[in-house]
Amino acid sequence: MTYIPKPGFRHPGAAVNAIGYARRDYEGAVSTLCAGCGHDSISAAIVQACFELDLPPHRVAKLSGIGCSSKTPAYFLGQSHGFNGVHGRMPSMLTGANLANRDLIYLGVSGDGDSASIGLGQFAHCMRRCVNMVYIVENNGVYGLTKGQFSATADEGAVKKDGAVNPESPIDLVALALQLGATFVARSFSGDREQLVPLVKAAITHRGAAFIDCISPCVAFNNHAGSTKSFDYVREHNEAVNRLDVIVGRGEITAAYAPGEVEEIVQHDGSILRLRKLAAEYDPRDRVAAMTYLEERKAAGEIVTGVLYVAPDARDLHDHLETVETPLNQLGDEELCPGADALAAFNAGLR
């Protein structure tokens, strides 16, 4: 933990975005996590992504549960809405908030304990319902706040800092999300900023349940030899299936690619996901093939990262429920309680 405030001075040449904010305007308080925590890198990636997307901070809501990961919303987007709730219950709170005000951008921040243990049921239903959100799991494979016990995502055979070996099978949240109906699924690594920032941007611009499993080394308890979530291990076993550029309206990147190298996916809001293929034949629109591929590579000991699945024309919870376009929290008494006559007419329609 750092005691001095981050100085207010900024680089005199710092760029500003289309709405006049510099990157540092998207920062939050100085992190109280351990020095070098992977989670801080993810916070920085979120800051960068929101800056690059020109997001007005007051249009973003950050929700989280309990754990190191769930503390991080304090460390980014200091001018946005935030709600730090009960352990594992972030998905319910986010779903409720989204139902009440569909106009905000929802950023659910969770960890492997919060989502894969106590909140696994919540995680499943939130994905299944396809709530329009970004759901990031900051996955370090241990319970960092309670001194590094294995979490439910720890790999079988992984070695704890005290030498104990994990005999249990891990929960693969990416595989679960794919199976449960998430419409944007990606995996990344906190130590690869160049990959992570475009993924966060793509997830924000995606309409539907966007899930990012981000491996985030716990510097205090899970960054040793034998760990499968250490900086060194992930760097050695990281196999990206693609590299992503997100193109939103202006500022188009014009780079020359050989045919077949690049795939462009147009999303619902018109933004373009430009994927440079790294693994030949990998099609991020084929959910079944993606699941198979992931299982194969996992068996080979690789950590597959990149955009793993995207359904560009996904329908979200509001589509399923056929709610009105106006956010419910903006409706007045007359619209919400149209009176006895309207109720009678409605009931008559069901007879």
């Binding site: 001095i4 207010g8 005199p12 040449g13 992190s31």
Partner: protein
Amino acid sequence: MRPTDIRSPEYFHKVVDCQWACPAHTPVPEYIRLIAARQYTDAYMINWKSNVFPGILGRTCDRPCEPACRRVRVEKEPVAICRLKRVAADHKEDVRGLLPRVPAEKNGKRIALVGAGPASLTVARDLLPLGYACVIFDADPKAGGMMRSQIPKFRLPEEVIDEEVGYILEMGVEARFGHHVDSMRALLREPYDAIFVGSGAPRGRDLDLPGRQAAAANVHVGIDWLANVSFGHVHRIGERVVVLGGGNTAMDCCRSARRLGGQDVRVVVRSGFEEMKASPWEREEAVREGIPILNYLVPLEFTVERGRLTGVLFEKVRAVYDANGRRELVPTGEPRIHMPCDDVLIAVGQETAFPWIERDLGMEFDRWDRPVLDPVTMQSTLPRVFFGGDAAFGPKNIIWAVAHGHEAAISIHRLCRGEDVHDRLPPTVNLVSQKMGIHEWSYDSEISPDERYRVPLAPQAVALKNIAVESELGFDERLAFLEAQRCLNCDVQTVFTGSRCIECDACVDICPMDCITFTANGEEEDLRARLRAPARNLTQSLYASDALKSGRIMVKDEDVCLHCGLCAERCPTGAWDMQKFLLDMAQATDVPKHACAHR
């Protein structure tokens, strides 16, 4: 890009912009921290060792350190380094016990010093503790040179000069004051082992315009007039005074005139206001005292009636730039302007003068009639004769004179020991971690957002009545502390150890100024363009590491680093550390100071 060699003393020295810019390389942040800690005596002694005249320089220095201050690149104004130096001098305790001891037994060598200004006094201070006999000649009745004769008392009180010059005289200088040296040949015949010429630039330029001779009684050469004021020969000036020239001497002239009866004092310069040579703060003071500065006016004639000056005639000009950017002043064709006045002060420059050095002694002079010197050793082509201060390379300022003096003293010492004067010791360098605990540093790493504090001034009603009243009051302890806290501690260096780095990006994310980037290596020019914040200031170095585990390198742009230490605080492995870099210039000494010499 090749990994930066931080073992070279130059690398980190350059990061301490103020120290790098100072001719004497005074360790500025080191003494500013001591001022913040109210250790004024210690702060004074660091200065005294390096620049010999902290109290004088704290009032009069040309302060090359301030425009260099990193704070200028981060916000608007530099730390008030010069005025903090004065704080150390004002608030110190008696330092006499801390001054070097002069041995009773001399080494048998005699040195003649011509001129008792800052350069010669520095040479004497450096050589007396080594057992030399130093004989100082000056035509003036007291020591101090231009510090006493040309700087007005309202900027530099006499007692400050007496004190700091006194420290050196009391070391046992043999003073020959009121003695004009008029022959180098004669001096060379006397039994001196070396001669140091620190005779300044005593000749003020004149303006040979029509009417100059007829108006002689009321047209004065600026530096001569200032000297006459200083030594009490002149007490009054006319009510209407025109000062010609735009340098610091002109500012001293006009402000002095204002205090000696001048009511309508004005400064007239040939070129534009922006091109004036005077330091901005001196200009500001003049303007504040109600002295207008009129520009683009070229003097044509001193008008005289019945043998008495009546005014100055000017022609209005404008600046025209040719294709090479060279400026020419072209008359605008407007009617000439006659400025009526009672006195004129000419402050259009000064130059060295060596009528007393015979030209058949084997000493070479260049085409500007200046002695040919080695710029490092200050040695002339006569091996026994050295120069320093304004006498060496023309008018500069006190701090340069001190720097020359130190170098000349080293040369003289080596010459007298029969050693090669070019064989000189490098500076001593010390680089020590400031870490005291997990988040504890032995320096105050928090960055003050305060703007520069103004030095309190004496009320004008008082200051303008008496030329001996110091116009600046100096910072009190509270203001000094607040101003000292603005220092960014640029000497506490960010030192990177690549072998410890796990590339977690914590330093990149916490850095408030986007100084740090981890990226693929490349040529410096290419790297500068693709850092987290482009490194456009080419005068500032990039600090590059060797290849890290991932194959990338760490690159830090030194330009706007605040030295807040957050990179080191957020580093989980100690790959970043904050280490204090202390560079001490070599001075004349008998015992080599660096440890490896003590075999």
